[in-house]
Symmetry: C2
Subunit: 316 residues, 2 copies
């Protein structure tokens, strides 16, 4: 019996291609894998695409693709392509490990702030025994999760289980035990007014681009802290800096930027109250990510419906 050989095109930085190709080969040895910008390939022969942020216009040159798999939970890198062929399903990467890793990142950076660890680091540099008395109270430190999708709900539960009061905001109301849910524009101001540490995990859409700006910061309590692990496009860097310098924000942790990598001359790098990390909140085991795409391919091969398909109207 002769089976048509199926092909997958990986569109990712060539230097890191092996991180993805090795686990794909291990899990789907029958797939022929091409790496864009490295291998010669026939566009008409490509069945599947695996990517995070493909060059705009590339996907429409592949006339026979059956599905596009995202290497991340966010798919704004695909939606930014005005020529994305919308008849082709775009599949988000959704896995409990991704949400868990993002929760770890958010907990780490919230605790760095909450526990004043940067002050202790500075005291250590001075060889100085400087306690910070009285401690900030956990009961009075309200965590606000901005975006209560699969990831946001896991993050909210992590903070709740650590004893913090937690609220969440999203377009539609969520039901998560012990976490108060605010929904829609009408309830956003109340959500923000009660948030001491704001964790942004919104999808990047036309509605949310630039949402982390001075008008929003002014709605937070004075001395609030911002953690952005969603997309650089959500934030207005100069507004973050001026909110911190004016005392409205006490600091920020930013994992995402527009563009990435963050240019070396960005003032964000050197601000003493901003922690910059290189988009690592959601770094997940490549084997797990590859498996997610392979699982999707298996669904297509067996004629079953795909899951986690993006709604282009909603934008996520």
């Amino acid at each position: 019996m002769s089976v048509k050989e199926e092909t997958l095109l990986l569109v990712a930085p060539v230097t890191w291609a092996g991180i993805w190709t090795a686990p794909i080969a291990a899990q789907a040895p029958e797939l022929k894998v091409f790496v864009h910008d490295r291998d010669e390939y026939d566009p008409a022969a490509i069945d599947y695409v695996l990517s995070f942020r493909p060059p705009p216009g590339l996907l429409k040159t592949l006339p026979n693709i059956r599905a596009v798999f995202s290497l991340g939970a966010g798919v704004d890198g695909f939606l930014a392509d005005p020529e994305y062929p919308r008849q082709v399903p775009l599949v988000r990467f959704v896995h409990e490990s991704l949400a868990r890793e993002m929760a770890h990142y958010a907990v780490l950076h919230a605790l760095l702030f909450h526990r004043r660890q940067r002050n202790f680091d500075a005291a250590q540099t001075d060889h100085a025994w400087r306690q910070s008395f009285p401690p900030r109270k956990t009961e009075d430190t309200h965590i606000g999760i901005f975006g209560m999708g699969e990831i946001g709900c896991v993050i909210a539960a992590a903070f709740r289980d650590l004893g913090f009061p937690v609220t969440g905001w999203s377009r539609t109301r969520k039901d998560l035990s012990g976490v108060r849910s605010y929904a829609g524009e009408a309830e956003r101001a109340e959500f923000l007014a009660g948030t001491d540490i704001l964790v942004c995990v919104l999808p990047l859409t036309d509605d949310t681009r630039g949402i982390l700006n001075k008008d929003l910061f002014a709605q937070l309590p004075r001395g609030a802290y911002l953690i952005n692990i969603a997309r650089g496009g959500h934030q207005v860097p100069e507004d973050i800096i001026s909110a911190i310098d004016g005392g409205q924000l006490e600091g920020a942790t930013l994992d995402v930027f527009d563009p990435e990598p963050l240019p070396p001359n960005s003032p964000l790098w050197s601000h003493p109250k901003i922690t910059v990390t290189p988009h690592v909140a959601a770094l997940t085991d490549p084997f797990v990510m590859a498996k997610s795409a392979v699982d999707g391919i298996r669904l297509i091969q067996s004629g079953k419906p795909l899951i986690n398909v993006v709604d282009f109207e909603r934008g996520y």
Copy 2:
């Protein structure tokens, strides 16, 4: 009706006395409170003592004290007094907020290591976009809780809920869902061999003094990480430094020292792979701590048995 005025003696650094006297006055306004080294008082008139580490010999000069309340969970500061009047009950401070705050500290420092945040801090200093690929896997990072008392169990549950594999070691076996319990000397080596991040919350007794030494580190997997939030007396600082310099330990976070404050010339301050904090893991709301002592006094006043009384034979 005339009631004898009851008195409480606070034995704590005079500069911080107000942190404790204010919440005591608020919760037990009928108590007369003296501060040792600040106020004149009649030793025979003292009913209760509140302290953390009283000067040896002081307590035996108070002939009529009915109970001694510790400001901390650990009571080695009292047991170090050979003249402690053992007919007087010594009451440990036990409160869920204490365990929770210590869990936050342990989670913060475990995640700082697990997520390589110090590397990202260094990259930020260089304005360099340096991802650390592949990430350390949560499933493969085994947290070992050394000492599974009330506090150890809360810390174990916190790590478990964050998705880490967790084990615990204690003198007697514990039953905590999802956490493997090792008990006694016979099972200690196996516990240590499977621990990537060791969190020490043991009581300080003759059995545990100096336990964090090179022989113990040699039983951990190479590249393990140490977090000590128990007592400085548990650790041998020169062994920690040589274990790190030799690669057996990848680093350590130390919150406790012997003596405290840690002297400015200690090499622990300046080691690049050691985080030093000034005994703040368990800093807890003074109101909560004062309430715990007041609750104990209320039990005595109403003729009920005290709880959380130290067993002098066991040492905790």
